[in-house]
Structures are given as structure tokens and as C-alpha cells.
């Protein structure tokens, strides 16, 4: 027991890397996902179909595979990255496929009627997007977007496979030293839970509030 307690700070130090990994990967995936969603909704059919196909491929890649590919595979073609950068890129690539789908659904969900009404009072295409479509799509995407972050946060533990010293990796290392897996793993479970739970509460509140406003979340 005492052996484990002295290692608690070591495990908790992994929280920083977990947060860096998941936040950076998630936000980059948001940028990329938004870009792909815009292209899918607003560009001519051939381009839109191609991008849609790309997002499907991205969603089909297991995160573990993406991480190994970036960290162990890319050096073969001369791109050698530190493991934390590789993990961020892997998370970005895979999650951008999911976020593209989320944002696309949110934009398309706003619907033709809102657009017609916007045009009918004389708003230009850009103004209709800026003042009607975007605010509604943003609201509709918010709960799903927050949920997506909790998924990325937990999946970032897969960076263990390429040796990033994040929360989960630290716990496993400590477990190997103190010869007990139970206590370190329960501790990290509590840490993951205490980050994810508040976010899922906020997401659920947002969803309910939006519903009362007549905006159905994606």
C-alpha cells in the first residue's frame, strides 16, 4: 500500500501529457473536420463526394494503427517525429473524420426552410450563412462536440503503445514497479472519470436547453 502511495504523484504527472495530447489532437481535428464539412456541404458534387469518401476512410482507421503508422512507419520515408507529436497527429487524423461527420450533420440539419426565410428578407448567401446557418449549426453541434472530446481523452491512452508518458502509461509503469495493477488502474479510472463526467453533464444540459429552443442537437 505504502509503495503505491509514494508513486501517486508520478501517475498524476501523466495528466499533463494526457491533456496536451487530447486537447491538441482534438482541436486540430476540429479545424480539419470543419474544413472537410464545409467542402462536403458547399463544393460541387465530385469534390464533395471525394471528401466524403476520405472521411469514411479516416473513420475506418483504428487509432492504434494510426499511431504506429506515424511513429514507426513514417521514419522509413524520412519523417521522424517525437512520440508525443506522432500521437497528436494520429489523434487528429482519425478524429477529424468523426468531427467532419458531426459538423456536416449540424450544417445540413439547419434545413432548407431556414435558408429560404433568410433569403426572403433579403440576406445575401454569405449573410444567411453567417447569421442563420452558422449559429444554429454551432448550437446543434455543441453537445456532440463535447462528447467527442471525452472520447478522444480516453482514446489518448492508446499513446501508451508508442511510449508517450501520459496518464495511462505512467500507471502501467508504476504497476510494474509496485507489482500491483489494481490500485494504479483504479486511480487513473477515477482521473478519467472526473474529467469526463463534468463534460458529459454540460453536454446533456446544452442538449436539453437547445431542445427547448427548438434546435435538435446532432
Amino acid at each position: 500500500m505504502n509503495g503505491f502511495l509514494t508513486y501517486v504523484p508520478v501517475i498524476l504527472m501523466g495528466v499533463w501529457n494526457t491533456l496536451i495530447l487530447s486537447t491538441a489532437g482534438f482541436l486540430l481535428a476540429t479545424l480539419l473536420g470543419l474544413l472537410m464539412a464545409f467542402i462536403e456541404v458547399f463544393s460541387p458534387k465530385p469534390i464533395s463526394i471525394t471528401v466524403d469518401w476520405v472521411t469514411r476512410v479516416l473513420r475506418g482507421v483504428p487509432l492504434l494503427l494510426a499511431l504506429l503508422l506515424v511513429f514507426y512507419g513514417l521514419p522509413r520515408v524520412g519523417i521522424a517525429l517525437p512520440n508525443i507529436a506522432s500521437a497528436i497527429i494520429g489523434i487528429t487524423i482519425v478524429d477529424s473524420g468523426y468531427q467532419a461527420q458531426l459538423f456536416r450533420g449540424a450544417i445540413e440539419g439547419v434545413g432548407e426552410r431556414q435558408l429560404e426565410a433568410a433569403y426572403s428578407i433579403g440576406l445575401s448567401k454569405w449573410a444567411a450563412f453567417r447569421y442563420i446557418i452558422a449559429p444554429q449549426a454551432f448550437r446543434a453541434a455543441l453537445p456532440g462536440w463535447l462528447n467527442e472530446f471525452t472520447i478522444v481523452l480516453k482514446d489518448s491512452s492508446i499513446a501508451y503503445a508508442i511510449g508517450v508518458t501520459e496518464l495511462f502509461t505512467q500507471a502501467v509503469h508504476v504497476a510494474q514497479v509496485v507489482l500491483d495493477y489494481l490500485q494504479p488502474l483504479i486511480l487513473v479510472s477515477i482521473v478519467y472519470f472526473s474529467i469526463c463526467y463534468p463534460l458529459s453533464i454540460i453536454s446533456e444540459r446544452a442538449r436539453r436547453k437547445l431542445l427547448a429552443m427548438g434546435v435538435a442537437a446532432v
Binding site: 426565410a117 428578407i121 433579403g122 449573410a127 427548438g214
Partner: protein, 250 residues
Amino acid sequence: MKVVLEVSNLWKFFGKSPVLRGVSFSVREGEAKVILGPSGAGKSTLLRCINLLIKPDRGSIILDGEEVTAPGVNVARVRSKIGFVFQHFNLFNHLTALENVMLGLIKVKGMNRDDAFKVARESLLSVGISEDLWSKYPAQLSGGQQQRVAIARAIAMSPRLVLFDEPTSALDPELIWEVLRVMEKMSKERMTMIVVTHELGFAMKVADEVVFMDSGAIVERGPPEEVILRPRNERVRRFMERMQYVYSLK
């Protein structure tokens, strides 16, 4: 009296099938024109062509002496001069009743918030939406209230004419009258309007001219008591007989 709108020989095809087949009519200032006819007659398409939500394939539309179907016309500017009231209200879901009315005034007409508020207040009061409802979102309003806010949003822009596309078809029966009453009041105040509706009572009371459309063409037109009570065209007569069955209280 001055002609506000002139539609000449308007054609529209969806794929190969014609939806509008050479429709022509004009609307004078202050006139209320009611368009009747079965589903699929092209009534909605006609209204959508007039405010350029749909581009007609042939023919011309002249608004206040300007041919708006000509190439190079600023579509948004034309639309800001035409109000449109939709069957499903189409209020902006993320904005309150007041903001729904103010948005166009600020973003299209370039008014400051104070001026926009004054105009919006007048419009909302004129359709009987009292101050306690101004901060409500569309989902918190009844259908009748939503449609009246939508009318306020249209008239706040001081349009040259207002188009109504079956404005009461999505309403509970008991709420229809509150919307029709507002429209009747607008007509009395000499607002120029074109109304697509199935409300024959409204057409009898308010219409200056009734136009009956079938299969993309106008088949009969005239004063409401002529077209509704003594139609000459066989198709119109059959339509009115069925309406008699539905609405007659005797």
C-alpha cells in the same frame, strides 16, 4: 392605379414536366389577389418565382418598373422589397420573436439597433404580439403567434408587396382566424398582397381578384363572388362543389 407587379408569360420546368405554363397577371398598388387551386397547380412555385427563390425558365417579372428576371439583377435587394410568409412560418429558431423581426432591419437595411427596435415594436404590435412574447423563442410560441411574428418580420421591411404561401395550412383550426384577421387588417391598410390559400371565406371577404390555377396555368379569374360562387370553367366548378361539401354548414 399604379401597377406594382407584372408577371408575363412565366414558364418553369422541373426536369421535363412544366410546373408553370405561361402565367401572366398584374397586381396594382393596394390590391389583394387570392390564388386558388388544387395541390400541384404551381401556386407555390409561382410565388417562389416572384421573390426569386426559384428562377423561372421563360417569361418576365417586373417589380415597380424594374425587370427583376433580367440577368445581373441584385437578387437580395429585390427580395428585401418583397415580403414572404411561409406555410410553416420559418421563423429563425435561434432568435427570439423580437430578434426575428429586427435581424433584416439591421443586416439588410443597415439600421442601428434603436431604430430597428422601434420599427420591430410597431410591426409586432400591429399583428397583436404583445411585449411579454417578444423575448420568447419560436418553439415557445403557438402556431398562430409564430405566423403573426413571421408577418411582422415581413412587414417590418416595408415591402412593396407581401406574398403568402398557404399561411394557415399548418395551423390548428382554432388559430386560423387570428392570422386571417391580421391579413384582413393589412389589406384594409392597403398593403399589396398575393395570397395562396384554401380559405374561401377569406377570399370572399378580402380578395379584389381571385385567380384559379390548375396544372400550371390560370384557368379562371375574376371577382371572388364570380369565381367562387358562379364559376364558368368546368374544373373550377368541380373544385368549388367539393369545397362546398367540406365547408358548408347546412
